[in-house]
């Protein structure tokens, strides 16, 4: 960096400009959402500084569908998925990282296969399975296909492999069984990975749409994203004021959490050191 800065100040300036330009492009949809949500519809395509402010759009969005219930559903959904993922992936990753067992290599390849053949493309068959299990239109049905996550298993396995064997053995000498070793040695050391993975998982499932759209069909199970669809498929066309208000409302928890914990978030990713 030093070399670049001293060597070519113009290039550096140009680069800064480029970076800012791209960043502004990238933030534009959010900026627009803010603009449209707090102004009357008449100003949703007209950017004048003296446009009156209003919170009416949020009120209209809130009454257009039972969003309180959708929030609850989404919350239950992401909690359930994340909880199951953490447990299942930890166990499986531990097995792959520290146990030699027959068929391990094949099993690991099969798990990696799920990285490519993910549940999202198997909607037709999974729908039939859920309907055979009598689970259509339940929150577990939204979550089940995602609970054993190849991504999570892979990430945790890589991390567990970096844990020094000596720590493991020391714990065993003290008489800890395999599960106690896992809980006392491996899990604490993988904390950054858990945070990074947890955030990715939560934001993925908070925003997931197609599968929940297919598998749910009532207010009691539908997550926020599916609820948002009501604004996109109306006879009256798109009302950006309401839809941006709804967007902000529904992604507010994630957005705020991200803004508040931005540093920690990025750092935990860095510490996670995905390679």
């Amino acid at each position: 960096m030093k070399a670049a800065q001293s060597g070519a100040p113009l290039a550096a300036a140009l680069e800064t400009f480029g970076a800012w330009f791209l960043a502004i492009l990238w933030i534009l949809p959010l900026a627009y959402a803010l603009w449209a949500a707090i102004h009357p519809s008449a100003y949703s395509a007209r950017f004048v500084l003296d446009a009156p402010l209003t919170l009416d759009n949020f009120a209209r969005a809130w009454t257009a569908a039972p969003f309180a219930r959708y929030f609850l559903n989404t919350f239950l959904l992401v909690t359930m998925i994340l909880g199951a993922q953490l447990v299942l992936c930890t166990l499986a990753a531990y097995a792959f990282a520290r146990f030699t067992f027959a068929g391990r290599e094949i099993a690991f390849l099969l798990v990696l296969l799920q990285l490519m053949i993910m549940p999202d493309v198997l909607i037709v068959e999974n729908y039939q399975s859920m309907s055979a299990l009598g689970l259509v239109d339940t929150i577990p049905a939204i979550g089940l296909p995602y609970m054993a996550s190849a991504f999570g298993i892979f990430l945790l396995r890589q991390t567990f492999k970096t844990v020094p064997r000596e720590l493991d053995e020391a714990a065993r000498v003290e008489g800890a069984g395999p599960l106690q070793v896992l809980l006392k040695v491996y899990v604490p050391l993988a904390k950054p990975i858990y945070i990074a993975y947890g955030l990715v998982s939560v934001s993925y499932h908070w925003n997931n749409f197609l599968w929940p759209l297919i598998i749910t069909n009532s207010v009691n199970t539908r997550p926020l994203t599916v609820g948002l669809q009501i604004f996109a498929s109306s006879d009256q066309g798109i009302d950006w004021s309401v839809i941006t208000a709804a967007t902000l409302m529904t992604s507010a928890p994630l957005l705020i959490a991200f803004l508040l914990f931005q540093r920690q978030f990025v750092q935990s990713f860095m510490r996670a050191g995905i390679r």
Binding site: S41, A42, S44, A45, R60, T63, A64, A65, P66, S131, L133, G134, L135, V136, D137, T138, L213, I214, N217, S218, V219, R222, V226, Q229, I230, A232, S233, S234, D235, Q236, G237, I238, D239, W240, V242
Partner: protein, 430 residues
């Protein structure tokens, strides 16, 4: 889990219920009622309010009103529930879903339920145009509820600015083109700042297309839902007219026009005329920053527009008591007063002539005469395109329309292909 359990329990509960019913006749009846939301506003509140009012007037009947999402969601939910053995009792679904529901064996015809002369008179009280999509092979399967049609909105200020009579919308295709030349505003470089007309062509282009084909005196399908007539010369002609609006006359934006943005285009003055659903009436009234008018679609060989929107359907698996209660509810929801109230609150067309004679509706129309245009157009309205395997046939036509509008196929070729595809799909039903 819940489903499995109730599947086991159902026969037992049923048996117990029958014993109980025979001992105590005044048993409570519960009806599940699925409905979609397709227009803005607090629809769920209005429906819940109706249900509560009905329950109050009819002790012993409980209505479980379930908001099921969009029309598409509601159909999916109703059909899956039906396949798993627990269908809803009543559902509001698109009138065009009729064949799908019949093919699945999910719904019961209404005629069989009508016992008294008053009941029969009730079924005759709706606008015939709405019944066109509710009947096939001599039976009635749906009861009109939230129905709409295509109308034309025009910007009076833009008409005035273009030197046209602001109170006279173009009444014929020729007048539309002639007025359109004046309404289209171009700068020196040829960039258009205001188009004359937008006929949306995404989402359900076939529906707006019917506004053209009907005016050109041609039907798109037979009433049995087994034949389509996409490649008839009059249909091709109608499509040619639509394409020409953009390509030859240059008074409509080129390419396909997004349904969802058309109202905003109108409010923003990007188009002086738009074709859209009457479901937009309340929306336009609230948001148009200029005086506007609502007119019937322009005529060519004749007038015409398709109807649209949703009907009540009654599902098969009901006890006689439930069936009677369901009919009672549907009748209650479509009384002149309710139909008027529903129309005023949502912008849908009140489904029966006598609803327009109620004091509330009279007062509404007096203050907002545009609301009556859609009603007056019903005289010329035809059934919305609906066949067996409806979604697929419709898609064939939609693709053809879009191909012609975006210029990849000639209207003739596009309609020939669409008809061929429709023939292939419909062959098993003939």
């Amino acid at each position: 889990m819940r489903c499995l359990k109730s599947r086991w329990l159902a026969p037992i509960v049923g048996a117990v219920a029958m014993v109980l019913a025979s001992s105590a006749m005044a048993k409570d009846v519960e009806l599940s009622f699925y409905y979609p939301v397709a227009v803005g506003g607090p629809i769920t509140k209005i429906i819940d309010g109706y249900a509560a009012e009905f329950e109050k007037e009819n002790p012993g009947i409980t209505i479980k009103a379930i908001y099921a999402g969009t029309y598409q969601d509601t159909l999916v939910k109703a059909l899956t529930a039906f396949k798993s053995g627990e269908p809803p009792d009543i559902a509001v679904l698109l009138s065009t879903d009729m064949f799908t529901l019949i093919d699945e064996g999910a719904i019961t015809s209404i005629d069989g339920l009508l016992k008294t002369n008053a009941d029969k008179a009730w079924l005759k009280s709706f606008y015939p145009a709405f019944m066109a999509n509710s009947r096939t092979s001599g039976k009635t399967w749906g009861v009109p509820f939230q129905r709409s049609t295509v109308v034309m909105f025009w910007n009076k200020a833009a008409f005035k600015a273009a030197g046209l009579n602001p109170d006279q919308a173009p009444d014929t295709w020729d007048a539309l083109v002639a007025d359109g030349q004046k309404l289209t505003k171009r700068d020196a470089a040829g960039n258009v700042s205001q188009w004359a007309v937008e006929i949306p062509s995404t989402g359900f282009p076939y529906w707006l297309f019917q506004g053209l084909t009907t005016a050109n005196g041609v039907q798109l399908m037979n009433q049995a839902g087994t034949e389509t007539y996409f490649d008839k010369p009059a249909v091709v002609q109608a499509l040619q007219f639509w394409v020409d609006l953009s390509r030859k006359d240059k008074i409509q934006p080129p390419g396909t026009i997004e349904w969802g943005t058309t109202p905003k285009d109108f409010f923003e003055g990007k188009t002086a005329i738009m074709w859209t659903s009457t479901g937009n009436l309340t929306n336009v009234k609230k948001n148009a920053p200029f005086p506007f008018g609502v007119a019937m679609l322009p005529a060519h060989q004749g007038r015409g527009s398709p109807t649209g929107g949703g009907n009540f359907y009654l599902f098969k698996k009901m006890t006689p008591e439930q069936r009677a209660a369901a009919l009672k509810f549907v009748k209650w929801m479509t009384t002149p007063e309710r139909a008027a109230d529903w129309g005023i609150q949502t912008g849908y067309i009140a489904v029966r002539p006598d609803a327009w004679e109620t004091p509330a509706m009279k007062q509404y129309v007096a203050g907002f005469p545009a609301a009556a245009v859609a009603r007056d157009q019903l005289k010329y309205a035809v059934a919305e395109l609906s066949t067996h395997d409806n979604q697929r046939v419709t898609k064939a036509l939609n693709d053809g329309i879009q191909a012609a509008l975006s210029g990849t196929k000639t209207p003739e070729q596009a309609m020939k292909d669409a008809q061929q595809e429709a023939n292939r799909i419909l062959r098993p039903y003939r």
